[in-house]
Symmetry: C2
Subunit: 702 residues, 2 copies
């Protein structure tokens, strides 16, 4: 069957609309659930307000940033306004595309967070009736986020293509989404860990009060953090990866399909696959439920496998049916998906408390915190191997599979389709991921609302499933980002070549980046240092901010009479802690973000496109390495602490436990602030490079 | 003036002989110094015996390894014995070159360690007379090692060239040195940190007895560790880097000079520069003394600056004098040296306790050990930037400087000469470095021998200078290794091209490694994961081994009556601890070393030379990143602890101090086991790749 572009748009649009309708249905379903406990509702309200405060402040700051970037884009991109043959319209479209990308990402995040903060109270209340109803509320609340994010990705990409018909504009759109994600993930990450670390250290360790105790002034901030860091941040991150992978694939597809303006069968394949991925996620979400035989972890995992299977079958059918859909490309995306699952399982091996590694770290903790750290760092380093090898293998297989279709261009397109394949189930992944903070909040509400031991136990079980699945989805997200940025490197080269052709310099066409070229090598070395410094700035941000918040907690316990003793009616000043977390997060994230973007520009204007090619490569390698290390080490320490807490190696209060808490505190900003933000940092840098490619060609020192 | 090859050999030989004579003079001078305190001599004898035990066991294990590798080399290299046109003589020469490299390295290390363990007791005794005489003994003891190592490097390289006239044989010689260094550094590193960590944790922290207390069963092992880890290990490491940098330069020089057998002016330049570097180090060593105005740190730094200056002047004179010595190449080596100094200073900024960073980490420790770790990790990450940028800039400048001489081949040769320049002062660096463990031992002996408060204070001052300088030399060593491995990448390409020409496949000649080539990319990703896993294996080795030793210390304190109370005549069983450290170190280092070598072979036989080119690049990038991070973070924690101990942030016994001790314990295997071993791992992998290049060309899967 011959596909027309309008049919493809229709398929994409249909999938997006179905997703939106289903999201609205789920949101209404969540809202309808019982929510009668006044205490819980009051606390949930506090959390909701805290989240709103943070989002409002964050978006205000980001609005300035976006406005500034928009002005620069208008002045310089795709061509400087004073350049020869500049088309004002193009610059305007690019600017609008950028703004649209930022807004799409912000809206999806905000709605998701609002639904999540409705779901938490309801899940807590449902937990009094057992695990099944509570699981469903938590999961469906998360699914709203998943469906909205993936639906708006698809809608945005189709809209951009339809309106502009130009893949460069997609880069602008993607950059809008990325620059928002960078700040949402990094800012949210600093917020959530500031609160978490401070609440734990000042509350659990120093004062000896339980987790989620309402006397702790940081407890609301901690729960707000789960929402702004994990729901909104992770959503923005995966929104960004998803858009970026589609953009990279489309940039290369359009170049192969016959130039920037032409949408041929390769481009159609990208959209159709993405639409089928969304449909598969919906099917997966529909099947998620806790059965009598399996717990919540099994339910989450099963629905992921269902999504994967459905995607493979649907895309195979499409490949069978539509003319020009090559099996080799289907193979590439299947390989991507397969490797994604492998990476997830490897992550699980290193971070799950039923696997041996967590037990080893817990055991080492008996000798003291230094050994908790040393063994965690070591296994974190080791955990890098399977993911890196997995990405290496999938890139190579996808390349070799698709090369026979017409040379290296097709081969690079094949890699981008492996990334699209890996990200096809992203709707499902986000749902699983957003489930975590909802049930984590529910656990907190159950405790603060005094719902009793049994309910807390149910909430604990739901929470623990969230943690396990979170480690896996995080590994998956990093793997997907890895393939995505590799294809962004391909997209960058494709953009550079288009620009060179436009400038009439066809003889110079790049065929790749030679490591032995001094500019490439220079870029590689500098690029490799960037993620390290970026992570350092974020971790120090958490560090500094937590010091401030701990001082505030100490002050409140000293100055507010009756607080420590838990006198009825005495309440800490929760807002002070939320304020500290918010202000600090915004203050600390700006330098990190600017550092990444400005170094890209410096390297590009020093060494030109070759240096930037190297810079991207160095950035990808060291970024993946550090992101995997930090995410996995963090997850490992978290679960080692929980493993000790559940009565092993001396249990709660033992020396091993104290060491475990220190490990967990170190791991918190690793896994929830720096690690996942590196993904976004790489994407942002890659997109900046592609956007500014023409300028780098024209102006560079060496 | 026209230089002949025999004149060049004569210059090199003369420099080596002068160095040997001076080393013998210094060794005899050290031996002549007063050594009358019986207690000290007895303990120093224990340390010497412990070192001998370790070296004997280590070399026995290594002899098996070297024998096995020699058989493989004989069978396969340069061509498999059953290949067409194989020359049995060549294979035999290569095997002997390999064995010679290993033996040279082992002999230099052993003599150095023996002199160092004579110097420690004498330095302790001299410390009763003040800082000046004690400094001189410590420094001259270290200088013996420095002179021996660099002299035998030069002698070995000249000998190989003279006997075989073939640069490939140099690769074999270099691989012999490297494979020994890998095990010496890694094995010594595991030994020293096992002992150090266990002595500290079980002694200082748990039992509350002072450092270097003779009641501690691990105290002798700790002092032995300083010798086998820092003196022998660091010596082998720099021996290896030095040989490798000369080898890489010579491989490329001979290819440019007209083929493998031809030694032209470019090759002569390498030898002359290396000889002048050695002469400069001798001048530097001659000038080292503590004046009334400056302390020992200043004395060490000044002599480094003297060496640098003398080297620049001498090489400028040579360039002026000798025909064909190009100023551009002199410029490249000057840039290398200059950047080396910059990297050293940057390292100093991040690790010196007079600079702000150490104070910040000490301050963060007040909030608990998690913040010690988090801030140390963050600043460790940041410290990567100046070194990476420095290496990037020096490689680019050297390339661009030398490219006009005749294209990319000359440009890569320029980079290798930057590495030779950076390593020119290596004699001085090793002297400074070996000074550290000698005075560290002297401090221990002063305490155990009861030489009194004032002597301990003097020894402390000498020790502290050693620590400061050690951090700088370590940064320097990593920087030098960075440039060396870049030039080894060039040497690898040069070898591949020679092999292709020999195989009659000139049309295939490599011009570089294109990142967009799927095999290269595959190699990069896998190569980047190797240093992480390698480090993890070493750190876990320390971790496991320390657990065993701590258990042994506990046992001794429980079972040996009167030990804890310090009853006269009761002595712990020092040898048990030495045994544990030795056996464990040898057991743990083998998997790490084999892992690195075997992964190189696997990647090469899967993806051919392109994959290996990428593999080396990935290895270099992630290796440098992790080595810099771990060395600097470790140095930072060490000094932060010392800063607290000197009375800041609450001083000894405060919570900040406890946190500082935990940071230091984490940092120990970072900075003294894993960090510096990565250097050697990269060199070994690069050399294996070059040696096996022909096999990879003929046999690979994809």
């Amino acid at each position: 069957m011959q596909l027309g572009i309008n049919t493809v748009y229709a398929i994409g649009l249909l999938a997006a609309i179905v997703a939106f309708i289903y999201a609205v249905y789920l949101a209404l379903w969540v809202k309808k659930q019982k929510n009668e406990n006044k205490t819980i509702e009051r606390i949930a309200g506090l959390i909701r307000d805290g989240a709103k405060t943070f989002m409002r402040k964050e978006y205000t700051v980001l609005a300035y940033f976006v406005a500034g970037a928009a002005v620069l884009i208008f002045l310089f991109l795709p061509k400087p306004l004073w350049a020869e043959g500049v088309d004002l319209n193009q610059n305007l479209t690019m600017t609008l595309a950028y703004i649209a990308g930022a807004i799409f990402s912000a809206v999806a995040g905000t709605i998701g967070i609002m639904v999540a903060s409705l779901a938490n109270a309801r899940a807590a209340e449902a937990a009094t009736h057992g695990i099944k109803p509570a699981f469903l509320i938590g999961f469906r609340g998360g699914a709203v986020m998943g469906l909205l994010v993936v639906g708006s990705c698809l809608l945005g990409v189709i809209g951009m293509l339809f309106i502009t018909g130009n893949s460069s504009m997609l880069l602008g759109f993607s950059f809008g989404a990325s620059s928002l994600a960078l700040f949402a993930k990094a800012g949210g990450g600093i917020f959530t860990k500031t609160a978490d670390v401070s609440a734990d250290l000042a509350g659990k360790v120093e004062l000896g009060i339980p987790e989620d105790d309402p006397r702790n002034p940081a407890v609301i901030a901690d729960n707000v953090g789960d929402n702004v860091g994990d729901v909104a941040g992770m959503g923005a991150d995966l929104f960004d990866s998803n858009i970026a992978s589609m953009t990279a694939a489309l940039v290369m597809a359009m170049a192969l399909d016959g130039g920037k303006g032409k949408i041929g069968v390769l481009s159609m394949m990208v959209i159709v696959y993405a639409a089928l991925g969304l449909i598969s996620s919906i099917v997966g979400i529909l099947t998620a439920k806790v059965t009598d035989k399996g717990g919540p972890t099994k339910a989450l995992n099963n629905s992921t496998y269902v999504t994967t299977g459905v995607f493979l079958v649907l895309t195979a059918l499409a490949t069978l049916l539509f003319k020009g859909f090559e099996w080799r490309i289907w193979g590439a995306s299947a390989v991507g998906l397969f490797v994604g699952v492998i990476i997830g399982l490897a992550t699980n091996y290193f971070t799950d408390d039923n696997a041996p590694i967590v037990k080893k770290v817990a055991h080492a903790s008996k000798t003291g915190p230094a050994f908790t750290i040393l063994s965690g760092v070591s296994y974190g380093f080791m955990s890098v191997l399977p993911a890196m090898v997995g990405i290496a293998v999938s890139a190579m297989v996808a390349y070799k599979l698709c090369e026979p279709l017409g040379g290296p261009g097709y081969a690079m397109y094949g890699i981008s389709m492996a990334a699209v394949g890996m990200l096809s189930i992203v709707g499902m992944i986000i749902s699983n991921d957003a489930y975590g903070p909802i049930v984590d909040n529910a656990r907190g509400l159950a405790e603060m609302g005094g719902l009793g031991e049994e309910t807390i136990r149910v909430a604990d079980e739901l929470d623990s499933a969230g943690n396990t699945v979170k480690a896996v989805t995080k590994g998956f997200a990093i793997g997907a980002a890895g393939l995505t940025v590799i294809s962004l490197l391909g997209a960058f080269m494709s953009e550079v070549n288009s620009a060179l052709v436009e400038l009439g310099r066809t003889a110079e066409q790049l065929i790749g980046f030679d490591v032995m070229n001094p500019n490439v090598f220079f870029g590689i070395m500098v690029g490799a240092a960037i993620p390290a410094v970026f992570s350092a700035l974020l971790i120090l941000g958490v560090d500094k901010n937590a010091q401030r918040m701990i001082a505030e907690i100490h002050r409140q316990f000293k100055e507010i009479k009756g607080l420590a003793e838990g006198k009825p009616g005495v309440e800490p000043e929760y807002n002070k802690c939320i304020d500290i977390a918010t202000t600090g997060a915004l203050k600390e994230l700006i330098p990190a973000g600017l550092f990444a973007i400005i170094s890209t520009l410096i390297v590009g204007f020093i060494g030109g496109v070759n240096a930037i090619g190297g810079f991207l490569l160095g950035n990808i390698i060291s970024g993946l390495l550090l992101a995997l290390f930090m995410s996995n080490a963090g997850g490992l320490w978290d679960n080692a602490k929980k493993y000790i807490e559940s009565g092993n190696e001396g249990g709660k209060g033992s020396d091993a436990h104290k060491a475990g808490v220190i490990g967990d505190t170190v791991g918190d900003p690793f896994k929830d602030t720096a690690g996942p933000s590196i993904n976004t940092q790489i994407t942002v840098v890659s997109l900046v490079a592609s956007l500014v490619a023409t300028l780098f060609i024209n102006f560079h020192l060496f």
